[in-house]
Subunit: 192 residues, 4 copies
């Protein structure tokens, strides 16, 4: 047990919640330490005691929110598994969670350290889950091959999310699942 008065954990939650609320209600630019402090009644100094700057609070707040990721179902069919996972991912990203992911990336593109942390704390999970789905059926892929297939599956999804040239609908993710499955099968053939 650490000495001294313990931190009030409710504060952390309140701050993160306030940050999320500010984002969804007044847009990304409305998130400020000042506003979070005023909104929650938490002293600014207390916020800075827990997060060394604004970015860190935002990261923490959104990672919690964004970590709600679909479980990887196991239907026995790779394409079916991929289709389900990508559909769920799309559904999630079409909701508020997409907004927060975009916001996080807005920060990430301005600060590579932040992006690195974002990847390690958050994005990696989505990748891992996808990789596991693939690995269930294809056990002999090299790491490079796995990475390629994951990029092939997630790349177009993020591309649409960030650049927003087209909607993330079922037709899109299903087609994507189909192509990734075929690509995996082909790689398997080449390897053996």
């Amino acid at each position: 047990m650490s000495i001294g008065r313990p931190r009030n954990n409710a504060h952390s939650d309140a701050a993160k919640e306030a940050a999320l609320q500010l984002l969804t209600e007044h847009g990304y630019a409305a998130i400020s330490m000042e506003a979070v402090a005023q909104h929650t009644g938490i002293a600014k100094q207390t916020l800075y005691r827990r997060w060394k700057n604004k970015r860190d609070l935002i990261l923490d707040a959104f990672v919690d929110d964004a970590n709600r990721m679909p479980p990887a179902a196991d239907t026995g069919s790779l394409e079916e598994d991929l289709r389900l996972y990508l559909r769920q991912t799309a559904t999630l990203l079409n909701s508020n969670c997409g907004v927060t992911n975009r916001a996080l990336m807005a920060e990430g593109l301005q600060d590579s350290d932040f992006l690195k942390e974002l990847r390690e704390r958050h994005l990696i999970k989505r990748r891992t889950r996808l990789r596991d789905i693939i690995r269930r059926k294809h056990t002999h892929f090299t790491e490079e091959q796995e990475t390629f297939l994951v990029d092939l599956a997630l790349g177009p999804v993020w591309y649409r999310l960030l650049v927003q040239n087209a909607p993330l609908n079922d037709a899109f993710t299903d087609a994507l699942a189909h192509q990734v499955t075929r690509a995996a099968r082909e790689l398997e053939t080449q390897t053996s």
Copy 2:
């Protein structure tokens, strides 16, 4: 003919160049109207006379740099054409141009109007060129199918550039070109 003292066009170039320099030398956060003004000796008012805000300057400054896109060679083979195009794209994005693309997206994610403009003035060109490559071989695709294939090709590239910060090497783009070609062929079969 407008009356009064004409604008000094050298200023526009100087400002854009300064913005670029600030980005590459001190990182994205260093780009500020204040800094551009001070760096170039141009008055802030002059900058605001030409660009209505910081984002607009950044768009203008980087779009030139970011617009440099590979020509679409025509070898007769779709996979070969894609391979060439994606390799050249990767080469470009591995240079400074990747940095500026990231900067533009950083702004785009904070302002959807800006993103729209960015898409229409800049990103669309890369897509069009890719679409044309595909269209040369596959003339009967619906727009949705074309869009899907372009997303399948560019998605993973952007994903690595923006999100994963992973290397865009030949192995990657070649594999990508291969899968896109395969996907196109399959779509053709299904359609007919």
Copy 3:
């Protein structure tokens, strides 16, 4: 003429006035750049553009106020002149002006640079006037002798103002004027 938009002089006056008002109404501790800014509608940055910190604003504000010093009457009699001057000084210091002088000294005792500036911009004037009164009658004093007599006259006044918080009444200043006069006369005798 300096280039650029000229400063709005009304701002300086408003800020100084607000500082004085805050002092007299809510006490010395109430003077803050924050409060002055809010009170006057002047942006904090504007205040800091004119005064490099809180102390400087306070000094400037009070020097204006405190410079209202009694003129040195010339009755032909040294004691009479001294009596008049010290009475007027006492009257002034018994008013608001005494409060501001105490406030300035509170700062001065915490920062010797500030005290130096305070002496040079403000306190010196009181001394000069007294020295002139003495010099009219005694033209052959050394600088050291003059300094001594001025200290002899002003020391007890400041002592009561700052330390003793004792009344500065006519009985006191008259007695003081009398002793300073006798001291001057004696010094004259010794010198010749």
Copy 4:
């Protein structure tokens, strides 16, 4: 007998010493409860348990140092006694003791209650000693006359210490002793 763990008296001394050290080494502004706590390893709460606020600690810390006052020698001659006493006072105030006296006054000017306490616990002693010297030779002065003479003697000294930051040398204090003696003699004459 109080119950529970007894206070560690070494702490009080350590805190006072730290305050003094901060003053002399880094200037008045460096004295903060925060710094004293960190410097000594004493918890802030412990400090506040012993002194109700910063001022009180400062008073307690410096009053010991500031209390060192010259004894009042009795040579039989008033002027000689005054000369000795003022010389010794000057010597003391030229040392560290002058710095601490300035620090105490800096606090006193911001809080009249504090000033009152400072006078009663500390400054009064110097006055009393001087008054006693005078009283030995002049037994019939009213309290007002005594007060005047003490102010006449100490005023210029404090004035130089606090306001003028001018040297307290023998020439100065001797001249002062001489004038105070003369003033006393004259008052005696007038009274009788």
